[in-house]
């Protein structure tokens, strides 16, 4: 199987049952994407596939051979962090850090959805999306944080997006 991840090509032959998440973590040493529940119930495994945020635990690697895959390692590095990563540090939008790469990938994907005008469950007028704290909270609710750094996460994303309180 051949994969394109963070702009780099990989060729390997994992078990057909390998999830995209396990491909990253167990075969490619891209352990930034986390396994929290393995069933799409926590969001720790969130990555971007063709620019969209998805749960990498709930999809088979074999189904993504033609896709453009971006993981947290492709978002930014310690030497050259993405503004979202810097904002999470600044606002203490984490504690243990385990859900954090998923939160950040989700936030990056989410802001792209907002830019496309996608509404959310809390959008009053589905045709007119305006990002505020309630919108950020709802849109980020697929990413559980047991340390419960939600207020910092909302602040960090709001800071990057220039959202209204």
């Amino acid at each position: 199987m051949r994969f394109t991840i963070n702009g780099r090509s990989y060729e390997l032959d994992p078990d057909i049952r390998t999830s995209l998440l396990d491909l990253l973590r167990e075969h490619l040493d891209l352990t930034g994407s986390k396994k929290g529940c393995d069933h799409g119930q926590c969001g720790a495994c969130t990555i971007l596939v063709n620019g969209r945020r998805i749960n990498s635990c709930l999809t088979l690697a074999v189904m993504h051979q033609d896709d453009d895959i971006t993981t947290i390692e492709g978002i930014g590095t310690p030497e050259n962090p993405h503004p979202m990563q810097q904002a999470f540090v600044r606002h203490d939008g984490y504690q243990c850090g385990y859900c954090t790469p998923g939160q950040i990938c989700s936030a990056v994907g989410m802001l792209d959805e907002v830019a496309k005008g996608w509404p959310s469950h809390v959008t009053a007028d589905l045709g007119a999306v305006e990002l505020d704290e309630a919108e950020i909270s709802e849109r980020m609710s697929g990413n559980l944080c047991r340390c419960s750094a939600y207020p910092g996460i909302v602040d960090a994303i709001g800071d990057v997006a220039g959202a209204k309180p």
Binding site: D15, R17, T18, D22, R25, E26, D29, L30, T31, G32, S33, K34, K35, G36, C37, D38, H39, Q41, C42, T71, I72, E73, G76, T77, P78, P81, Q85, Q86, F88, V89, D92, Y94, Q95, C96, G97, Y98, C99, T100, P101, I104, V122, A134, I136, S137, E138, M140, S141, N143, L144, C145, R146, C147, S148, A149, Y150, P151, I153, V154, D155, P165
Partner: protein
């Protein structure tokens, strides 16, 4: 070597003289970039070639015997290396805090989902399939799957228990004589840690030496249990746990450590054993459900004469003497001459019960603080005024003075910031809006902790201890303590944690981690400062350390120069001492909340939440705030969501995944505020900090419940408070 036993206030350290100005500052975590870029290495992420994978095999009964384990089909599956099952080397479950070793397989099953074996294969997918292909045949026997089943022969606290029964005066008589009384029963359900990082281990052997890579909160506590279970000497075990994806008390030990070690020994491979989220519910201990009888008796002015909280909790038969110390937060909280705080532990066939964030207070303060709210209403008093009227001068249960207690300030500061006096119960559209307050109290501990500080030729300091960082901020606060003590900017301090080759730290648990490990680092810095002073030819007390330089008289010398070719090493050890008994020590706080209850459906939304804590010295205002807020959000979960439901027919948790065991999502949480009233508590420990990681949850569920009652008039005493429990009391549609 600076050792200090906490028998009296410390006379003062370099930390107290420090002028660097980094301690307490809201500095961003020094491990932050590693976490946000995914480069921080958690337990299962250490790169090791030629790994084998192990998956646990479990028994699907709550009590009984395993009569057969058929591994034939599993062994024939592609990629399978070995199946180890039905052997005494297999740990049945995770040993509970206080348990000396894991129970090995012996054919008996005492709680649902006990481990009977491990399937080992070349890849995870093959191991998982093999584990599921093993046929475990059991004979189920009747079991006790409800704590009420064990009420008749429930046990009193054992000798030396953290919370012995406290009975003072005659509460029955006092209740009979009091002008106003309340006698209510609150219940809280089983709860689990649900740390985002699942339990899992990578184990490798080199000869007799075992290396364990796994999330372990208290390294020094886990190693003897691993050694005793495996029958090897502790010196041959190395544990590496630099990053831990949340612990909350659930990662003091884990069955997968033993499984991985056994599998690695047998196969000669390095073996990775991840537990699945579903397995963790049954394999890892959780928090007991509680039945709390709360009694309050007072005169009409609100002066309490009777205070009681008597509880029934559960523990798995034969697991440990640990029990949920329900009254831990209440026992020293309010005055009242006649007191009864007792706990009875029922022996049950349920997953073992162990420490979960704030054992005792997390659930015990639900009963006490909701009852206080009920009593205030009965008395017609403002709930703050009622509490203030019963604020004790000394610990009302022991008579000891408080090491520090600024609870009244917390009430006043919180009320001011929240706008308590101006709160207005109202209806906005479908939403009924109400307010509440509750007290936080969490007992403060000090634990033995050691750390090494080495000042190198480059003028940088290196801290080494096996202390851990669960997300609490240990990396950062220890750098701040050393920076303040040695006059170094935060960027000149390196912190290495979670390696058992380092000096044994307190570990993370019971909110003692920060104060204990910070004290050990401060003490280690004393050694370094004494030697720096010697090299400066100065008295340590007359030497100023700032920005990497030592200043004495009119001389200013860089630390790098003073170190020269001879690095300076300090070892600090803090020991708990008599101040632990001589003073009643707790972190305190006051919670405030505004809640909306949907008048149609009973849906509940937390609109505002604010708390003020008295937690001694704040070591880092940014990480401290996050710890406090995190605890408060656990309170939201305990109030509204969390319930590990036991099927009383089988003893199994019914909702054993994160889709059905609900923890709060981002949308359940408003932009919570947390503030501190600071005081350096010199009786608590040398750095003067009190525990904070668990204080936030204490009383936090109660404040939500009290505000719900204010909003809609329904008092729910059976937690969590879900919409269905409010329906009958809501206005007609």
């Amino acid at each position: 070597m600076s050792e200090y036993q906490m028998n009296e206030k410390h006379a003062g350290m370099a930390l107290d003289r420090g002028v660097q100005g980094v301690l307490g500052q809201p500095i961003s975590r020094i491990d932050g970039l590693a976490k946000v870029t995914g480069t921080a290495t958690y337990g299962l992420e250490h790169r090791i070639d030629n790994l084998a994978y192990g998956v646990a095999i479990t028994a699907p009964i709550g009590k009984g015997r395993v009569t057969a384990i058929d591994t034939e089909a599993a062994r024939r599956m592609p990629g399978v290396i070995d199946i180890i099952a039905g052997e005494a080397s297999i740990p049945r479950e995770t040993p509970v805090f206080g348990q000396k070793s894991a129970h090995g397989y012996d054919g008996k099953v005492e709680s649902y989902g006990e481990i009977v074996g491990v399937a080992i294969a070349d890849c995870f997918e093959a191991a998982r399939a093999a584990a599921m292909a093993v046929v475990v045949t059991c004979v189920a026997e009747p079991g006790r799957f409800d704590i009420r089943d064990g009420e008749a022969d429930a046990e009193s606290p054992p000798e030396g228990a953290l919370l012995p029964d406290t009975v003072i005066g005659d509460i029955d008589k006092a209740m009979g004589e009091a002008e106003v009384t309340l006698d209510v029963t609150y219940t809280t359900p089983p709860q689990v840690h649900a740390a985002m990082e699942p339990h899992g281990t990578i184990a490798s052997w080199e000869g007799d030496r075992l290396t364990i890579r796994a999330p372990v909160q208290i390294v020094g506590g886990a190693i003897p249990v691993i050694a005793a279970t495996l029958g090897i000497v502790a010196e041959n075990i190395r544990v590496l746990t630099p990053y831990i994806g949340g612990g909350f008390g659930g990662k003091t030990m884990s069955a997968d450590i033993i499984l991985a070690a056994v599998a690695a020994k047998r196969t000669g491979r390095t073996v990775k054993v991840p537990l699945s989220r579903q397995q963790i519910f049954h394999v890892t201990y959780g928090r007991s459900d509680t039945i709390q009888r709360v009694r309050l008796g007072a005169d009409r002015a609100g002066k309490l004469s009777a205070v009681g909280q008597d509880s029934l909790v559960g523990q798995k038969a034969g697991a440990s003497q640990f029990f949920e110390p329900v009254a831990l937060g209440a026992v020293a909280l309010y005055a009242g001459a006649n007191r009864s705080f007792t706990t009875r532990t029922a022996q049950v066939n349920l997953t073992a019960r162990g420490p979960v964030r704030a054992p005792g207070e997390a659930v015990g303060m639900i009963g006490m603080e909701c009852a206080m709210d009920e009593m205030a209403a009965k008395l017609g008093l403002d709930p703050i005024a009622f509490r203030k009227a019963n604020e004790p001068e000394v610990d009302p249960s022991t008579g000891s003075p408080f090491s520090s207690r600024r609870l009244i300030e917390c009430y006043d500061e919180g009320a001011r910031r929240f706008g308590w006096a101006d709160r207005r119960k109202r209806r906005e559209g479908d939403w009924l809006i109400g307010h509440g307050m509750a007290t936080a109290s969490r007992v403060n501990f000090l634990a033995k902790s050691a750390a090494r500080v080495r000042l190198g030729a480059d003028g940088r300091a290196l801290i080494e201890t096996d202390m851990t960082d669960l997300g609490t901020g240990t990396y950062t606060i220890l750098a701040q303590v050393a920076g303040e003590s040695l006059g170094l900017p935060i960027g000149s301090v390196d912190v290495h944690l979670g390696d058992s080759d380092f000096p044994t730290g307190a570990g993370s648990g019971g909110s003692f981690g920060a104060a204990s490990s910070a004290s050990s680092v401060a003490l280690a810095c004393e050694d370094v400062v004494v030697e720096l002073a010697r090299r400066m030819g100065a008295d340590p007390a007359d030497m100023t350390l700032k920005d990497g330089h030592a200043i004495s008289g009119n001389r200013r010398v860089s630390l790098a120069e003073l170190v020269g070719g001879s690095p300076i090493e300090g070892m600090g050890t803090i020991q708990p001492g008599s101040t632990g008994q001589a003073f009643s020590q707790s972190t305190h706080g006051a919670h405030f909340a505004e809640i909306g209850v949907n008048a149609v459906t009973g849906e509940i939304r937390v609109r505002r939440m604010l708390a003020v804590f008295d937690c001694g010295r704040v070591l880092n205002h940014k990480t401290a705030r996050s710890q406090a807020i995190g605890g408060m959000i656990w309170g939201i979960g305990y109030a509204l969501h969390e319930h590990a439901v036991v099927d009383t027919r089988t003893g199994a948790y019914v909702n054993r995944d994160l889709a059905e065991y609900h923890v709060p999502t981002n949308a359940d949480v408003p932009q919570i505020e947390a503030y501190f009233v600071e005081e350096i508590d010199r009786h608590a420990n040398p750095v003067g900090a009190k525990g904070l990681g668990e204080a936030g949850i204490s009383g936090a569920a109660a404040v939500v419940a009290n505000a719900i009652h204010d909003a809609c008039g329904v008092r729910v005493r059976d937690f969590p408070i879900t919409a269905d429990k409010l329906l009958e009391g809501l206005p007609p549609v």
